[in-house]
């Protein structure tokens, strides 16, 4: 029943990226398969933006190899016109109106769909004649979303594309993304902190923490890979000891633990011991896994990386 693996559109092989004394990514290997939506998750400063900059040829890795459509993307026009990178808080030339920005994008991307762009501009109620740099943050994000979707680029990267957008506009983005993706499948990578909002859109999840891959898996297996068990503290601790404990909390005599399990047998075992067993959603799993890292335990605020990425983008 398992589908045969689809060819990868982009791969990173043992990629390390250093900025002066700071290491943004270390030994990252992953592949983005054709026609998948991947959620790129991780805390601020985890290395998400750096990873996207590498994929889109904005940077050259310090070590390792980045390949997109079979070649290195850096200064490679043949590859670059098939990559659309929507940066957070994208800047445009000063005189550019919304329509100029879109016209420029139309010339860059071979698969550009002008009708879709016009539809989206109307849906988002974007003022086509207003200079892009005079737009509110939310409207600026909308311009990015229009470009990202209308580009139909075989590799489309959205870096937190929702900044300044209200809940209605975000829902419009998710719906239009899904509708267009269903009609025109392509490889989409979406970095976000709003995990719950987009969890059901994702086919793959790539979680990075402090420049390293914590989790690289298919979203549906992840939902099956961990449970939250609740019950008497002792029973919970005993069950947790036999499995991979990710996170635990205790209140009085009862405990709750997020535990990785290997299948239905483990779930039944927990139930047989009288524990309440609930599925764990992606957000809970991602938070539990990130909290579990020694770095998160030792210190709560990452220093350096977030700032450096800002400066260098």
């Amino acid at each position: 029943m398992t589908a045969p693996p689809t060819p990868a559109v982009a791969t990173l092989r043992d990629v390390t990226m250093r900025f002066r004394e700071h290491t943004a990514l270390e030994g990252v290997s992953t592949a983005f398969e054709q026609n998948t939506i991947t959620g790129l998750l991780g805390r601020n400063g985890a290395g998400k933006t750096t990873l996207m900059q590498l994929l889109s040829g904005h940077r050259v890795p310090t070590a390792g190899r980045v390949e997109v459509l079979g070649a290195g993307p850096y200064e490679n026009d043949r590859v670059l016109r098939h990559i659309c990178f929507i940066k957070e808080g994208q800047r445009y030339p000063d005189h550019f109106r919304v329509r100029d920005a879109l016209a420029a994008a139309a010339m860059v991307f071979p698969g550009w769909d002008g009708d879709l762009a016009a539809d989206l501009v109307a849906d988002f109620d974007l003022p086509a004649k207003r200079p892009v740099n005079k737009l509110s943050r939310g409207m600026n994000s909308m311009v990015g979303i229009v470009m990202g979707l209308a580009s139909r680029a075989p590799l489309t990267l959205f870096d937190e594309p929702y900044l300044g957008l209200d809940a209605v506009a975000r829902q419009m983005f998710y719906d239009r993304l899904l509708a267009d993706y269903a009609e025109h499948p392509r490889t989409i990578v979406l970095s976000t902190h709003l995990i719950e909002e987009i969890a059901s859109l994702l086919e793959r999840v790539l979680l990075i923490d402090r420049g390293r891959v914590l989790l690289d898996a298919d979203a549906e297996s992840l939902r099956d890979s961990a449970v939250t068990v609740t019950g008497p503290a002792e029973t919970v601790q005993t069950f947790a000891r036999q499995h991979d404990l990710l996170h635990t909390e205790t209140l009085g005599g009862s405990s709750r633990a997020v535990v990785r399990i290997s299948g239905a047998t483990d779930r039944r075992a927990a139930a047989a011991q009288g524990l309440a067993v609930e599925p764990t959603n992606l957000q809970q799993l991602v938070v539990a896994m990130t909290l579990q890292t020694p770095a998160a335990r030792g210190q709560h605020h990452p220093t350096g990386p977030a700032e450096l990425e800002e400066v260098s983008s």
């Binding site: 029943m1 998710y174 899904l178 993706y181 859109l201 549906e220 599925p279």
Partner: protein, 120 residues
């Protein structure tokens, strides 16, 4: 779909099964496509397709090349049979566990079921 209720493809499959069991999706009729399911439930089309493929593997749906998926003949009977088999484990067990916790005897439970049936 409920992101807090385990794998979404299983929920997709269960929902189609429910529709077949309650008759709203008749045998031989066409099942929704993965894109329709994806748009309706706001889920990834691959996830919807996985749910449909599971039903094909289970013999509940049949694939007609180039047309779509259809409810198999006998699918409803097959699902009823399976669900009856699962009934004790899924419904009677939790009922009995709670009854035991509260000190309700099997006889009292039977009387409650009789009452409930008579009230309807």
């Amino acid at each position: 779909m409920n992101e807090d209720a385990g794998p979404i493809f299983r929920q997709v499959a269960a929902e189609i099964e429910n529709a077949i069991v309650d008759g709203s999706l008749a045998e031989e009729s066409q099942a929704p496509s993965s894109n329709e399911l994806a748009a309706f439930h706001r889920i990834n089309p691959a996830t919807a397709a996985k749910g449909l493929n599971q039903l094909v593997a289970d013999g509940v749906l049949t694939k007609r090349r180039g047309v779509g998926m259809f409810v198999a003949t006998g699918a409803r009977e097959q699902l009823l049979k399976r669900r009856r088999g699962e009934f004790a484990d899924q419904y009677v067990r939790p009922l009995m566990t709670e009854a035991q916790k509260l000190g309700i005897s099997a006889g009292e439970l039977a009387a409650m079921i009789d009452d409930w049936t008579n009230q309807r």
